[in-house]
Amino acid sequence: MADVILRNISKRFGAVEAVRELSLAVNDGEFLVLLGPSGAGKTTTLRLITGLEQPDSGSVMINGRDVTLDPPGSRDIAFVFQQYSLYPHLSVYDNLAFPLRSPARRVPEPVIRQRVEQTAELLHIASKLNNRATRLSGGEMQRVAIGRALVRDPSIYLMDEPLSSLDAKLRAELRLELKRIQVELGATILYVTHDQVEAMTMATRIGVIKDGQLLQLGTPREIYESPSSTYVASRLGTPQINLLPARLASEIVLPPGTETIGIRTEHLQIAARNGGRLIGRVHRVEHLGEQNHVHLDYKGQTLVTLADPRQPLQVGQEVELHLKHPLYFDGVGQRINAMVH
């Protein structure tokens, strides 16, 4: 186990700048999640760490060793691909044993058997070892894919959206399991996803990435509660954070330079009119069972808030709005760090 450090790496594919001056340190035993939309440079970043791509500039350090020019096989990395991760011509056992059978590694066959069986046990696929890889369900395939990485004991596990092709139920299940395994093994994982729930639930730290640049790095709590920009703020949280132009809220005191106010749905509270300064009108109520999403019309702007399902609300009713922990952003979407409440 060790840490991985990226120093100012850049990678360009023709006219596309996939990764721009990215620096990142993954600490030992950490579950770091890179969160970003497709095309943000997440996968390229992983491929640069594996050595499947060479950076145009910058360096990759693993375990304190500069591996920028090393071939993939000598970097002591395990990689879980988004898809095509199993060899269809091999059995589940042989798929799991494949990384250990690499000629560079020379693991004796009894040790391989032991490792494969342990891993299969860990992932609850022990009964499937003799199946052909193609005879598995999607969830089982992805377990085997993760198992192919776990049979080894590398410096770092890189995972490229390993759960994205599964349905919601399986994804939730494997998410929990992956976190359990990571904690059990004390593994260092760099995980890439566009799914904020995966990021929030599994990560020790989250790195939000966009257009090949790392926008913010921090614990899930930090990122959620204290986003550095409107982009990061809207990446996390469902329904999305309300972004209200400051000019529509002249009634309240704002720090200088504020152009946008961010209010998380749970921080926007509504109450019957009682002399409050911000007045909105109920536009639509969505019943989700455990809570309601209330869409409000505020000076032509739609705001969403959460409400108790038992709270009686009529469409068209006027309510007063209270902002708890509002976030202030400047003209380019950067956070203004002011302690005004």
Binding site: G51, P72, G73, A78, F79, F81, P88, R105, T134
Partner: protein, 320 residues
């Protein structure tokens, strides 16, 4: 009530009606009969006597004999009945068969060495073409090669004119290099013709195999060549089998170059078979016997690789 009406009039759009099945089935059988008939005729002719073979109207039922095969494998001389009567009694059944026609066996014919030539040249060039084609196709599929498209077109362009158009230059080159009438020469020639086909066919198959498979192997510590052998080749096996069959059929049946460049040592079956007619009248049963034997290896090879060819249908059915 409605169900009963539906049952009597409507039919499923996925399940064909018994009548449609019967029509389709008989069409297939008819086609099969038409295609197989010439082959059956050849196999039958090989067991006919010379007079039965040219009888008119053709004989469907006849007294089978192995004369054709005996004539194919032996060289005989015609003798007077007196000479034959003085000989010791025939030692084998084929001696006996030959003496009935006032002939004695002078020795084995050249069919076995010619057949061996065909096997060595056919399979040798097929192996080389598929081997080189696989490596080239892999390189074209996976690496950024400068002018890759132009190179691929150049490789294909070698197939654009009929091979015989270059027969004279090749003949002259081969004479300079002492490659005429050698097995090596024929193997190289057929490999050169087949390799372009192999590269194009195999590139298509290898393009279909996701790169992630090899990349996973590379990350796991395999070298590029090991990944090719352990991961890519097993998955390209369908394409390799299909390509090998195409290459073998070409080099096995090739006639024009074989006539031009081989006459003795390296002669293959296609130029040899016509010679059989000339040796001692029109010996159609012997020709038919040679043709039957000639078809066997191709049939066997195809049957052996059939499993892989059928798997081609499900190729790529793994989750995408």
């Amino acid at each position: 009530m409605t169900a009963a009406i539906a049952k009597s009039t409507a039919h499923s759009i996925v399940e064909s009606t018994p009548r449609a099945k019967a029509v389709a089935g008989s069409l297939v059988i008819l086609y099969a009969v038409i295609t197989i008939l010439p082959l059956v005729w050849i196999v039958a002719t090989a067991f006919k006597s010379q007079s039965d073979a040219i009888a008119y109207p053709p004989k469907v039922l006849f007294q089978p004999t192995l004369e054709g095969y005996v004539n194919l494998f032996t060289v005989r001389t015609r003798q007077t009945p007196d000479f034959i009567a003085k000989l010791p009694p025939p030692e084998t059944w084929y001696d006996k068969l030959v003496r009935q026609h006032d002939m004695v066996i002078a020795g084995p014919s050249k069919v076995v060495p010619r057949f061996v030539n065909s096997l060595i040249i056919g399979f040798g060039s097929t192996f080389l073409a598929v081997f080189l084609g696989t490596l080239a196709a892999y390189a074209f599929s996976r690496f950024r090669i400068p002018l890759a498209d132009d190179l691929l077109f150049f490789i294909l362009s070698t197939r654009m004119m009929p091979p015989v158009a270059v027969a004279i230059p090749i003949y002259l080159m081969y004479r300079q290099l002492n490659l005429t009438d050698t097995r090596l020469g024929m193997i190289l020639l057929y490999t050169a013709v087949n390799v372009s086909l192999a590269v194009w066919l195999l590139k298509g198959f290898i393009d279909e195999i996701p790169r992630e498979y090899e990349e996973a192997a590379l990350v796991d510590g395999y070298t590029r060549l090991q990944a090719l052998r352990k991961v890519v080749l097993p998955q390209a096996v369908t394409g390799i089998a299909a390509t090998a069959i195409f290459c073998l059929i070409f080099s096995w049946n090739e006639y024009a170059f074989a006539v031009l460049l081989t006459s003795g040592e390296a002669q293959t079956m296609p130029p040899f078979i016509p010679f059989i007619i000339g040796e001692g009248g029109q010996d159609w049963p012997a020709v038919a016997a040679a043709t039957t034997l000639f078809v066997v290896p191709i049939v066997l090879f195809t049957v052996l690789l059939r499993k892989h060819l059928l798997r081609g249908i499900t190729f790529g059915a793994v989750r995408k």
